[in-house]
């Protein structure tokens, strides 16, 4: 277990270094950082002084080492466009994105698993067929168009829910939450559905496929032969064994959700990191792009790591294999 964790940790570190290299390349070689920071009337001498002060004349290796050291402390300098520290700007917007992502993930799991179990158990039911067709359409609808449709129906026509922003937020320390006010919750509903729908269909199809597989196994047949009630067989024996892959996929999808939040945040003008990142791409604000890339990579690596350990913990066979080796 310990050796396994250490090896995983080492791999994670390697991924982070590769990503840091990409971020550094972006920062250093896409456009001239000095040109972005100074005005037109700056003299060549002043530029050279700034260049020296920023360490841009040092060997590239040293610059990269410095970049990593700074990145480890989440120091990415100042935004070209807003002239504010990048870490502070992202920190302010992190809660909005995380709240949206986590609520969508919970929604996807809470709705997706029951739908998957139902369609897996009642293969030929009318409702099952309907849900399956609907899920195919759900996969084919681009995320942003789902958002637009929801806005069109619930904001423009029915006028039930707001179409942009977070509503009122409450500040708890450095964390700002929209979950404690009525308008904040109302503002969260449409974006959370938009973001969660794709994962919901994914989880549903996964649980269904796993259920169909498990139901055919001998131990389920045996449980039925023993005369156990359907409910006990379906939920205690079958569902339990489908959940291992579901946990893995859901965990990995959490990272995807955070990245897809870029689209949802744009449609709903949700003031999160994704919207900030998109603006930075449009304005070639490299420090924000680099910081966002590093943060997302870190979250991905962290989630991967936790999921790996969880998998290891949930499935006893994996532990046994390692022990034999």
């Amino acid at each position: 277990m310990l050796a396994f964790s250490i090896r995983r940790l080492f791999q994670a570190l390697l991924v982070m270094i590769v990503v840091a290299l990409i971020a550094f390349t972006l920062f250093r070689f896409v456009g001239d950082p000095v040109n972005q920071m100074v005005g037109v009337e700056t003299t060549p001498e002043q530029r050279e002084a700034l260049r020296e002060r920023l360490g841009l004349n040092d060997p590239v290796i040293i610059q990269f080492a410095r970049f990593i050291l700074n990145a480890a402390q989440f120091n990415f300098g100042t935004s070209y466009q807003f002239k504010q520290p990048v870490a502070e700007m992202i920190g302010k917007r992190l809660p909005a994105t995380l709240e949206l992502s986590i609520v969508s993930a919970i929604l996807a799991v809470l709705v997706g698993i029951p739908m998957g179990v139902y369609t897996g158990l009642n293969r030929d039911g009318v409702l099952s067929k309907f849900l399956l067709s609907a899920s195919l359409i759900g996969i084919s609808l681009p995320t942003f168009f789902i958002g637009i449709l929801l806005i069109f129906i619930f904001s423009v026509n029915l006028q039930w829910l707001p179409s942009f922003g977070r509503g009122e937020v409450v500040q708890i320390g450095w964390w700002s939450t929209g979950l404690l006010t009525w308008s904040g919750i109302k503002a969260l509903i449409l974006p959370a559905i938009t973001l969660g729908l794709f994962q919901m269909t994914l989880i549903m199809r996964l649980v269904r496929a796993e259920m169909l597989e498990v139901i055919r196994t001998d131990y389920i047949k045996f449980a039925r032969a023993r005369g156990l009630p359907n409910r006990a067989v379906n939920y205690r024996h079958a569902l339990k064994n489908t959940l291992v892959p579901v946990i893995t996929i859901t965990g990995l999808q959490l990272g995807t959700i955070i990245a897809f939040a870029i689209i949802t945040e744009t449609v709903f003008q949700w003031p999160g990191m994704g919207l900030l990142f998109l603006q930075s791409v449009q304005n070639v604000d490299i420090p924000i792009m680099a910081a966002y890339l590093m943060l997302i990579a870190f979250l991905f690596v962290l989630i991967n790591f936790v999921v790996d350990l969880l998998y290891f913990y949930v499935d006893p066979r994996l532990r046994a294999e390692r022990a034999i080796k």
Partner: protein, 314 residues
């Protein structure tokens, strides 16, 4: 493959074989697949012949008039028989814009899938055939990239391209930047699949024989291994076409794709999105439905192809 000598009596034999093959049979038996194929074909025809089919040229400034702006679709009050699906804020016919938009969406989708397939298949072949350190490096890169969603990678490449070309020059190359960034976000799947089958093929006798008579490795890969590992690539490519079209539309919707002067379906939705609240819903919704229908049809085709080519499921 075993029926290599049969190639002599092609094309008549090939055509006959195709006509009573399992694939054609399973195709005709699945009604929904036939419908999906017809819809996809219609999109292709519409996109290819847009200048002849479209009732108006949405990019001909002389032909559009601001007086025709915001006309609703045919079945609503205040409509104009010239505009089947209404007009946008500049008086452009929405139906014609969709036809021209599908053209760009399909072109970007196709080219990026082809580019991704070429890059992925070649890297997969090399990784599988050469093995060793080359394999390790290629597959490690693939693994790192696989942890990031395609849209994020495409956005980053686009951002870097803006930095390199500048925002103005970017408009000139935007089509190719899009193709390039979407292709780069999709190559991994091909590489992994091809590498896997190459690992199996390279130990077979025909490869050993080719090696023994002194054919250089590059030719063995292209002429002997490639034809035997290319099957699954077609399935991935079909499913990827849907992903590529959605990615292009998403990038264009986010405002980092093709500019409004040459709109794709995604750009049209972006333009229409601003008018959702003022009641002109058709400017955004129709291109959106057109996009969803295209993606759904391609997805259904891909699903069917995957099942049809998988002998385990027959």
């Amino acid at each position: 493959m075993s029926d290599e000598p049969l190639k002599q009596d092609a094309p008549r034999g090939a055509l006959k074989r195709a006509l009573d093959s399992d694939i054609l049979h399973s195709f005709l038996r699945s009604k929904i697949t036939v419908i999906a194929a017809v819809i996809t074909a219609l999109y292709f025809i519409g996109a290819l012949f847009a200048p002849w089919i479209a009732p108006h040229d949405p990019f001909d400034l002389a032909g559009i008039s601001i007086l025709d702006a915001r006309v609703p679709p045919l079945w609503m009050d205040g409509s104009d028989p010239r505009f089947l699906l209404g007009t946008d804020d500049q008086g452009r016919d929405v139906f014609s814009a969709i036809l021209y938009g599908s053209r760009i969406s399909l072109a970007v989708g196709f080219l990026s899938v082809i580019l991704a397939a070429i890059v992925g298949v070649l890297l997969g072949l090399v990784a599988g055939y050469v093995g060793g350190r080359t394999d390790a490096i290629i597959m490690r890169i693939a693994e790192v990239q696989l942890t990031f969603p395609a849209i994020l990678i495409a956005l980053l490449i686009d951002g870097a391209a803006r930095g390199v070309f500048g925002n103005l020059d970017r408009e000139k190359y935007v089509f190719w930047i899009l193709v390039f960034s979407i292709a780069l976000s999709l190559w991994v799947q091909y590489a992994r699949t091809v590498r896997g089958s190459t690992l199996v093929e390279k130990n077979k006798e025909y490869v050993q024989a080719a090696r023994l008579i002194g054919i250089p490795p590059f030719l063995i890969m292209i002429r002997h291994v490639l034809p035997n590992v290319i099957g699954p690539v077609l399935v991935i490519a079909t499913i990827n076409l849907a992903i590529a079209i959605v990615t292009e539309a998403t990038l264009s919707f986010l405002g980092v794709g093709v500019p409004p002067t040459q709109p794709s379906l995604g750009t049209l939705i972006r333009i229409g999105n601003d008018f959702l609240f003022s009641g002109e819903w058709w400017i955004a919704i129709f291109p959106g439905v057109a996009l969803a229908l295209l993606v759904l049809a391609v997805n259904l085709l891909g699903d069917w192809l995957r099942d049809a080519l998988n002998p385990k499921l027959r």
